[in-house]
């Protein structure tokens, strides 16, 4: 490998900038799942939720782009992705909160359902597999974006990047500094005690699951509407599962979720950049691209290896609340 091609400013800048972008869909899903799991609900269906959000968002943006709302088609797509995510969340909530079905099984089945549905709807709705949407232009932040190097890396992104990073702080604020957040955590740690103190456990769990799936659906939509500007089968590429892993890695903390998602984004970005480089530079072809593509998945396993201690998990995670059982 020719290291001179990799170890230079232009390459590193591009790498980190793309890494931040690529972290966004996963980060949204991780933040959402953090809220859901804090309430004691394990949603393993994220991959399916993201797929449905991705296809819904993409189709709405695609259909609106030529109409009078064309300028807003991307935003409409993102909202549609959230709504679709919540619809999936409702299915999961009814099954695993109201009916108390096994959360692991419901989640895994939801993934297959979401992927099958997404592929069916897309192939049915779009006759051309090369459909594209306009995406979103980067909005440089005044002044800050002119800082050398850092300005380009941190302050020249599309709006979803800024909003998602702001959301890290907001979710933290919500979970740890508001009464609602306190209720969510109470329900996730000790539902019986929470119920005794007057909280409606199942209602709060519904809310937390819907918030989580809204964010995961949004993550899927950001991927197709803003970043890749297209849809294809399996486009979420395991991001939902990686998000589930990153919640554990981040110890159910929004701020650590940012670190985990950035790590994933960088791995993904390294993989893309080296692939792109090896198209033009023979010196880069020493590593087969399949091994580069493995990077995010291997990294996820390594991340959990480094931190697979579950002692920080909400105590009631994954167990339905049954009044009669206590």
């Amino acid at each position: 490998m020719d290291w001179k091609l990799v170890l230079n400013w232009a390459f590193v800048t591009a790498l980190v900038t793309a890494g931040i972008r690529l972290a966004i869909p996963v980060l949204l899903a991780v933040l959402g799942e953090t809220v859901t799991e804090r309430a004691g609900v394990l949603n393993l269906g994220l991959e399916g939720v993201m797929a449905v959000g991705a296809v819904t968002g993409f189709l709405v943006a695609f259909l609106l782009q030529k109409g009078p709302l064309g300028a807003w088609s991307s935003w409409a797509g993102l909202l549609a992705g959230m709504a679709a995510g919540m619809a999936m969340g409702l299915i999961l909530s009814v099954l695993s909160i109201s009916l108390k079905a096994d959360q692991v099984i419901c989640g895994v089945t939801l993934v297959v359902f979401g992927q099958g549905l997404a592929n069916y709807v897309y192939r049915q709705a779009s006759s051309s597999l090369t459909a594209r949407v306009p995406g979103m232009q980067p909005v440089p932040i005044p002044l800050l974006s002119r800082i050398p190097v850092l300005g380009g890396i941190l302050f020249t992104h599309d709006p979803t990047v800024y909003l998602t990073v702001a959301l890290v702080y907001l979710v933290w604020l919500f979970l740890f500094r508001t009464n609602w957040g306190l209720s969510i955590r109470a329900v996730g740690e000790n539902p019986a005690a929470a119920e005794t103190s007057g909280l409606n456990v199942n209602a709060i769990r519904y809310a937390a699951t819907l918030i989580g799936t809204a964010l995961a659906g949004l993550g899927g939509a950001v991927l197709t509407v803003v970043q890749l500007r297209m849809f294809r089968e399996g486009i979420t590429g395991g991001r939902g599962w990686i998000a589930v892993a990153l919640v554990i890695f981040a110890r159910w903390q929004p701020k650590l979720a940012l670190v985990g998602a950035l790590l994933f984004g960088l791995a993904d970005s390294v993989q893309y950049r080296i692939q792109a480089l090896s198209q033009v530079e023979r010196g880069m072809r020493t590593v087969p691209y399949e091994f580069l593509l493995m990077l995010p998945y291997v990294l996820t396993i390594l991340a959990l290896l480094y931190r697979s201690n579950r002692s920080d998990a909400p105590a009631a995670l994954g167990r339905a609340y049954d009044k009669s059982a206590d």
Binding site: L95, K100, F113, Q124, I248, F291, I301, L304, L305
Partner: protein
């Protein structure tokens, strides 16, 4: 998880609804509801659902050729589903069937490529065993991560799926690529590596092996100490541990066994259907296998019925796609809806009982 384990016996006996009825009614209700929701999806796209289902039915059962096709499709689902049945009984959530299937295909395929001049019985045995070994090895990674580091097998097996497919992609494009070939696939296997077929039909030894595993898994789960341990770990791990059951060993076996059957399915499929190694050798058997195990109520006989039903759905959807152009991804959505309905029906039945 299954009501046999979660509903205390006293409750089950006290209830008015017999358990066998709930066990078999829930999948039927689920199947009807799943097909109904599928009909809505078809209707939404402007096609006629009844016509589409008629096409599916004749595509899956319309004649000897179609029925053969359905049986051939069912056998890998059956193998993967049976392996997962044993794992799920221990509440070991191996959802890496896809990766284990690929590794089985790869290891068995390497034997098929390089040992083709061995005596045929030896060759076939070595090929199948290599397939099993590949699946076991891949599943054991997840087992070690779980036992040593407490890592959720759900996440590790899933990540290993993606990695396995990429390994296969690399091997088929790189070291194992057909000499002088242009496509990312290996050379075709020699004729001697094909599993023998029965009586001039296309039904091969692999189907027989899959069917044979139905009684084997049944016996394993309900007439061996090992099966008892698996079910004990699944129903309450802490109690099992207290009772002196070696929980780690049960987890190790659950993953190894389900990996073995997935790997076996992989080598059987490439030996009989694809006859070479390439990236596109699976129709998502890993996940379909999970659904088959769930729909079959984690009972070998149920799994056999479920795998045949799902195979019919898949083959039917393929012919529906050819005839009316409706996407065959519909089969996946319907399968998942069916299982979701079954989960709901089960949960409802449990609530009425308690």
């Amino acid at each position: 998880m299954s009501e046999a384990d979660t509903v205390p016996m006293a409750v089950a006996e006290r209830s008015r609804i017999p358990r066998w009825l709930v066990n078999s009614a829930a999948p039927l209700i689920g199947a009807v509801a799943g097909l109904a929701i599928g009909a809505v999806l078809i209707r939404l796209t402007g096609a006629n659902p009844l016509q589409a289902y008629a096409t599916m039915l004749s595509g899956a059962f319309g004649g000897p050729r179609q029925i053969t096709e359905t049986i051939l499709k069912a056998s890998p689902l059956l193998l993967v589903g049976l392996g997962l049945t044993a794992a799920f009984r221990a509440r070991v959530w191996n959802i890496g069937g896809e990766g284990q299937y690929y590794m089985g295909a790869l290891c068995g395929g390497i034997v098929a490529l390089f040992c083709a001049n061995w005596p045929r019985p030896l060759l076939l045995a070595a090929m199948l065993l290599a397939g099993v070994a590949g699946g076991v090895a891949w599943a054991l990674i997840a087992a070690v991560l779980k036992i040593r580091r407490g890592m959720s097998e759900i996440i590790s097996t899933l990540m290993l799926n993606y990695i396995a497919i990429l390994v296969m992609q690399y091997m088929a494009r790189g070291p194992l690529q057909e000499p002088g070939g242009y496509l990312p696939e290996s050379a075709q296997f020699a004729a001697s590596t094909r599993l023998p077929v029965l009586l001039g039909s296309r039904i091969h030894l692999g189907v027989l092996i899959a069917v044979l595993f139905v009684p084997v898994v049944y016996a394993l789960l309900w007439s061996t100490p090992l099966g008892f341990r698996l079910r004990a770990v699944g129903s309450r791990e802490s109690v099992a541990r207290y009772a002196g059951i070696h929980v780690e060993r049960a987890i190790l076996f659950a993953l190894a066994f389900s990996g073995a059957l997935a790997g076996l399915a992989g080598i059987i499929e490439v030996s009989t259907l694809h006859t070479r190694l390439k990236a596109e050798i699976s129709g998502g058997y890993g996940f379909s296998g999970v659904l088959v195990a769930l729909l079959g109520r984690m009972h070998p006989v149920g799994v056999a019925i479920a795998s045949f039903f799902f195979a019919a759905l898949i083959i039917g959807a393929q012919s529906m796609h050819v005839v009316s152009g409706l996407p065959d991804a519909l089969a996946n959505a319907i399968q998942a809806v069916i299982v979701l309905c079954v989960l709901a029906a089960d949960a409802l039945a449990r609530r009425r009982q308690s």
